[in-house]
Symmetry: C2
């Protein structure tokens, strides 16, 4: 046992330093990155995290912070050098306080997202962050990646849900910014530096999160449309008619939907006709369900009349609504069955989405005739998961994967043309660290680096990620 491991054990206890079986920590969820850590350390308190980081700082040992390890860009995976220490906050999973008057909860970084949703619900409140990995992702990771999900339209990204943070800095000092204040203009807002920094500036150990009144009723609708442009027209119409009660607005292409119904035959389209595009939407409110349904019916009736939409199905109850969502939730899985597709997580100013889809579709078709595009995503936020399956006539799945970088280049160059982002909600991590240099101004990268150097002069905090 190394001297470092012994010192770590003295801080966190023998059982919480792992020196051999790294399987649960060394690889990412998508099995794209396989790292080799020196140790995995699992502190139980913020003070222990601080002591562990201090030891790393003294010994110039690189740190990889980790929470639920469900990230999609390799941000929580160590390199292969066998010299990096993973600090896992998974044991720090206590809800420290729920304040229903201030509408906040103070939680440790290792809390599982679903637990926090449930805690809020137990207090008749909503914690609106919701995403596919919610059963296993942990809030410290959600904050470090500024996670998005399906309710950003109404409630914002994770960034907007964080009111205060507690962070261990690369020096091992503990910054206590666990404030529950809606207004505080006393200098630079440091918490925003750590949110979305993917663990490169410090380790988040606890947070004060915003709670919302629990909606009394949610109405789901599944809508058929002619084109992405009509989806944007519908978005404007619905926002005008229903204000911010619109909580989700997802675009689904016919091809994307057809893969779901092909591989999950128990799932049926609520609108089985031959339509090219669909929108799945949720509208939530503090009013009673009947009144809400009536308003949604009126709004969609007007949309039909004005020929913004072709048809629509309004869920009669929660079960029907859930079934509609199962179509959306199985889109990623269905693509696995069809053969690995080349994935993107882009965002575009909402007004340019239809143009972007046309331009990107055309560029891909020119490069790969017969290419099959699965277009879906959080259109209400301008966020598309634009995934590209191989053309059947010219490619097979194994040789399609070799086109990954070339396809990325076409899609991301088109994204840049429309002033979009090549990583809307997944982050940079290792996956896009080189690529981002093509799209971000050198000045912006230089300022990011200045900040990194100022806070982490030894470059021990998640080196090789983001910048």
């Amino acid at each position: 046992m190394s001297d470092l491991a012994a010192k770590m054990r003295a801080i966190v206890g023998d059982a919480n330093v792992i020196t051999d079986d790294f399987a649960a920590y060394a690889n990412d969820w998508r099995k794209k990155y396989f790292g080799k850590p020196l140790l995995v350390v699992k502190p139980g308190t913020a003070a222990e995290v601080a002591a562990v980081v201090k030891l790393c700082a003294e010994t110039k040992t690189s740190i990889v912070p980790q929470a639920g390890n469900t990230g999609l860009v390799g941000g929580g995976v160590p390199d292969e050098s066998g010299t990096e220490v993973i600090i896992s906050v998974a044991r720090m999973n206590k809800v420290l306080e729920v304040d229903t008057i201030n509408n906040t909860m103070t939680v440790e970084a290792g809390c599982i997202l679903q637990t926090l949703q449930e805690t809020a619900a137990e207090h008749d409140r909503l914690f609106p962050l919701s995403l596919a990995a919610e059963g296993s992702c942990r809030i410290g990771g959600n904050i470090s990646t500024n996670a998005g999900g399906v309710q950003v339209l109404r409630y914002g990204n994770t960034r907007e849900l964080v009111m205060g943070l507690q962070v261990v800095l690369p020096s091992g000092e503990l910054w206590d910014g666990l404030r529950g204040l809606r207004k505080d203009n006393t200098g630079y807002d440091l918490k925003h530096l750590f949110i979305g920094a993917e663990g490169t500036l410090g380790i988040i150990t606890a947070a004060v999160l915003k709670l919302f009144p629990a909606p009394r009723a949610t109405q789901t609708a599944f809508i058929a449309l002619e084109s992405p442009q009509k989806a944007l027209d519908l978005l404007s119409h619905m926002k005008g008619a229903l204000g911010d009660r619109l909580t989700a607005f997802e675009l689904i292409s016919a091809f994307g939907l057809s893969l779901v119904t092909k591989y999950f035959p128990q799932l049926k389209s609520p609108l089985p006709g031959d339509y090219p595009w669909f929108v799945l939407t949720d509208i939530a409110d503090s009013r009673d369900a009947a009144a809400l349904t009536e308003e949604v019916e009126v709004a969609l009736g007007v949309a039909l009349e004005r020929e913004i939409i072709l048809d629509c199905a309004i869920a009669k109850n929660e079960t029907e609504g859930k079934r509609m969502w199962e179509l959306r939730e199985n889109m990623t899985e269905s693509q696995v069955h069809e053969g690995r597709s080349i994935k993107h997580d882009v965002s575009i100013p909402i007004s340019k989405i239809a143009e972007f889809i046309s331009a990107a579709d055309a560029a891909l078709e020119a490069a790969y005739p017969g290419v099959r595009i699965i277009t879906f995503g959080h259109v209400g936020d301008g966020n598309l998961h634009y995934n590209i399956a191989h053309p059947l006539a010219t490619h097979t799945e194994p040789n399609w994967v070799k086109e990954w970088e070339k396809v990325n280049l076409i899609v991301h160059d088109t994204t840049a043309k429309f002033n979009g982002s090549i990583s809307a909600e997944h982050g940079i991590g290792q996956l896009k660290r080189e690529e981002i240099k093509r799209y971000k101004a050198p000045l912006e990268l230089a300022v990011m680096r200045q900040i990194k150097v100022a806070l982490d002069p030894q470059n021990i905090m998640n080196p090789g990620k983001v910048i």
Copy 2:
């Protein structure tokens, strides 16, 4: 004429360098700070700002960025050395783009807030930032101070309304972050560093701002209550019943209201009975006015029944609503007539407001028997303007002002006890730069300084402010 002035004229034109008549620029609006600049330079474009800052960087000349010069903490006023150059963005007042589908507008930093509200309204959208100085303050200043105002409850602070920024850095380099993206996780979120930095990290030259659906109806109500605790109970009740339609929730003490009706006899309380506390609230919605009024009546009816409130007046129309708001808007002015009061701008976790008021009231009464406290503010955000008028028996207005620091100390120490902030929405500037050291952890101040040094190593950008 100095060499520097000549070079500035070559950049911005002769008419836009002021070398003598500094009256409109050198002093703050409250007439607390009287500075002496070397020059006032008024660039017309971001490129001109960049060239001017570059020249200052080369000559190590200190810069004071200025927009509408309506700040309340001396953040936009130069020192008395006669060596600082004011860079005013007032001429840069163009709305560059309104995108009603993306719900954004791109504007130059010198745009007057009210113009932006009107521009949004012309496009059937809402730009919700609203505060007393809106007729003369400029958006660059609003962003640099992260301005608050009366609609934070529903729409957030200025920070939450900014999607992208263009900033001239202390080096004179121009960072173009004018993005209109709701999701963009590609590294550190630099815009949040500049928002609320009071011009110490760079000069904001343009911004992409968020727009919202224009509400179709607003219902104002004036409510009498027994105590601040009951106001918190009402806030919870209203949030549960009306969700995020609650856009303003202001507490007013009976003494505060009595000063308004004393000095503005044309203004009458809608509830003339003998009540100790009042709440003024707005509820806005995309629905029609009649339906909204009915919902508000039901919610307040329940509050009466449950004895949360003592009485209420629901405005019958817009004019009545406006009259209710005139009471609130004249609170500051009425205090001037009564004799200068010692002002505070504190925020507290909402759940602790009632306890804070009791504790601060008691501490002040112990120190100054008969002290008269004007308690009002944006209670929905936890923000109180807690102003202290002299006790009639022992003090006069002139000798009361001498107690300023002692009174500040009592109020701010009490604020700190409840984990509050001593500057909720006005910032630090010069006014609270020393005081903040008492309340902020040395580590947090050290990190702020690290960032300042990283971005402005010569310390030329608004030196002597914030940190």
